[in-house]
């Protein structure tokens, strides 16, 4: 074995190495070290279990992200299939509009949810006019859920539509000719074909929801999602070690989801947002 190619590559690896160390490794190590060097030492990592506010925040964020992902996948699959299979006037415009939420930062999405379900929101006014009760949901789990769904669906639906367009219609027709009902065709033919797209976009959807800050920041008054808790810990409570450990945990959970998705689908999955 010759080492020459490697030696020749060395100079080229140096800039890449420096970038990696400076912008990726150092902050990560620092984060991990900071987490362990507070008053509590390494025990800070256990704080996520011993501090109710922390683990409640973790659980709430997980539940929110998982349910947003599940519902986004369901709605997007149905809507995506419908949009691919049906030609109707205004379809192009609708598809273009579906990508619109991607252009909004989290703050704006939070604002939209408040306009919809806040104290002066549309739903509140209508419900008051109809029943005399003002329905307000923007500042609860429901508000977060709707906000997260709003920015998740476009990501998923575009992936689903791309996959559904590639589906050979003859596959479905073959299944039907063999006696398969609509439900069986969905389960046996369509979903398997969409599976890689569902896994990839589901993972991105989950990762984005876990890390979303802007929407939660605008809305959250009653529940803290993990990124909010991290923010509160180091700005208001000056609990740098706590914030660092929570950050590491958030990073690990998200990375794990993406890793599992990548090994399931074989495709490259990258988090965004």
């Amino acid at each position: 074995m010759s080492h020459t190619p490697f030696l020749r590559l060395m100079p080229m690896l140096i800039p890449a190495g420096i970038t990696f160390i400076a912008f990726f490794l150092l902050p990560m190590v620092k984060l991990a070290v900071v987490g362990a060097t507070g008053d509590a030492g390494l025990a800070a990592y256990a704080s996520i279990l011993t501090t109710p506010r922390h683990w409640e925040s973790l659980i709430a964020t997980l539940i929110l992200s998982i349910s947003v992902t599940a519902v986004a996948l369901m709605i997007s699959t149905l809507a995506g299939l419908f949009l691919v299979r049906n030609l109707f006037p205004g379809r192009e415009v609708l598809v273009a509009m579906l990508t619109f939420p991607l252009a909004f930062p989290g703050v704006v999405i939070g604002f939209l949810v408040i306009l919809l379900g806040g104290r002066q929101g549309l739903v509140g006014e209508i419900s008051q006019a109809l029943t005399g009760d003002k329905v307000v949901f923007a500042y609860s789990m429901t508000g977060l859920f709707i906000g997260y769904l709003y920015f998740s669906i476009p990501r998923v639906i575009l992936t689903i539509m791309a996959a559904a367009e590639k589906l050979d219609p003859a596959l479905e027709e073959a299944a039907r000719s063999l006696g398969a009902s609509t439900w069986r065709v969905l389960v046996d033919v369509i979903l398997p074909a969409l599976k890689p797209g569902l896994i990839a976009s589901g993972a991105i959807c989950f990762a984005t929801s876990m890390g979303a800050f802007g929407t939660a920041f605008t809305l959250a008054t009653q529940i803290d999602v993990l990124p909010m808790t991290i923010y509160t810990e180091f700005t208001l409570n000056a609990n740098i070690a706590g914030a660092a450990t929570l950050s590491i945990v958030l990073g690990l959970v998200t990375w794990l989801a993406l890793f599992v998705a990548r090994s399931l689908s074989g495709a490259t999955v990258a988090a965004s947002g």
Partner: protein, 353 residues
């Protein structure tokens, strides 16, 4: 084996949502166990008619499809019990060969052992035993189409519908699989409707050929009938090769290019009229000049191995194609005399020039 299924198609037309008239009202009777080939150029409505029979497309109001006495017009494809084979194979990529073949049986809730037995039967019938546990992606085109056939037949469909099943395969494989399909259809005795644009395939497989043109049936009959007695210029042109000469029909015979050709026996003519004379390359012979009906100059000669195809200029407006045995070479520029076998002479109403 259960009784075979006759298919009756009554006044089935199809206008697509965008206004395309794919099919004029078509009537077609297919006997139980018969192999009917729908033949015609691309876009003539073959697939549309097949899909109406399958239940994948609904005919315009007024059209009716019957399987024996049962009106299936309103039944969707999953209730019609038809087997389908597609040009693109349409095998389920997430299932093995075995699972593909068993799929229809699984949907019909056959027991595990019934399924295993039937799949084994199908595998050996299509000579693909060794492929049973392969993934679809590991199969060649020919193997895929064998699996697709096995999958379609496994559920014992009432009618087998095949849409250009061999078109995606290379010539040699196409021929081999065509022979296999032929013997399969004969041994099963199943009613089969086979769509193709390849006339050689149609001739080889069909009990009856239905030639289609622009959404209509141009002619139907046995392969021999359609080839030897085309009823209109479209069919004559589409099936095999024909030469065409303009002529005048009189009580003495047909005058064409200064030659009087005798009429076939039993033909009487009441009035003079313009006709097109049609004859096939293999119905012409090279003869000595003094016996010849026409003299032409060889403008091209194609040596095909088993025969030679000559193009003769100077007889009609277009070159006349003649097929001769390949023994002695004929050079370009040679003058040759030809005569037409009276048996092979076909006449159509003249096309105005």
């Amino acid at each position: 084996m259960s009784e075979s299924t006759a298919v009756h198609i009554r006044q089935c037309a199809k206008t697509f949502a965008d206004g395309t008239r794919a099919l004029a009202p078509v009537d077609l009777e297919i006997a139980g166990g018969e192999t009917v080939v729908l033949l015609g150029p691309s876009g003539c409505g073959k697939t549309t008619l097949l899909r109406i029979i399958a239940g994948l497309e609904t005919a315009d109001a007024g059209g009716q499809v019957l399987f024996n006495a049962q009106d299936v017009t309103a039944l969707p494809v999953e209730k019609r019990n038809v087997g389908m084979v597609f040009q693109s194979y349409a095998l389920f990529p997430n299932m093995s060969v075995r699972e593909n073949i068993a799929y229809g049986l699984r949907v019909r809730k056959h027991t595990r052992s019934q399924r295993a037995q039937r799949v084994a039967e199908m595998l050996s019938m299509m000579h693909i035993n060794e492929l049973a546990d392969r993934a679809v992606s590991q199969l060649s085109g020919g193997q895929r189409q064998r699996v697709a056939l096995a999958r379609a037949i496994a559920v014992r469909p009432r009618v087998l519908l095949l849409d250009e099943p061999l078109t995606a395969l290379d010539a040699l494989l196409r021929e081999r699989l065509r022979i296999e399909i032929d013997s399969l259809l004969r041994s099963l005795g199943i009613t089969a409707i086979y769509v193709t644009h390849d006339q050689a395939e149609a001739m080889a497989l069909a009990d009856r050929i239905v030639v289609m043109s622009q959404g209509r049936i141009a002619q139907q009959g046995t392969p021999r009938d359609v080839y030897q007695n085309p009823q209109n210029p479209f069919v004559a042109d589409f099936i095999g090769t024909v030469n065409r000469l303009r002529g005048t029909l009189t009580e003495h015979g047909v005058h064409a290019q200064g030659t009087l050709l005798p009429l076939g026996k039993g033909l009487t003519v009441s009035a003079t009229k313009e006709v097109d004379l049609l004859f096939r390359p293999e119905d012409m012979r090279i003869v000595p000049a003094e016996e010849a009906q026409f003299i032409g100059t060889v403008s091209s000669a194609f040596y095909l191995g088993d025969r030679t195809r000559l193009l003769l200029a100077g007889i009609g407006d277009a070159p006349v194609m003649v097929e001769v045995s390949a023994r002695e070479p004929i050079a370009r520029g040679t003058e040759v005399g030809v005569s037409i076998d009276p048996q092979g002479l076909m006449m159509m109403p003249g096309t105005p020039s």
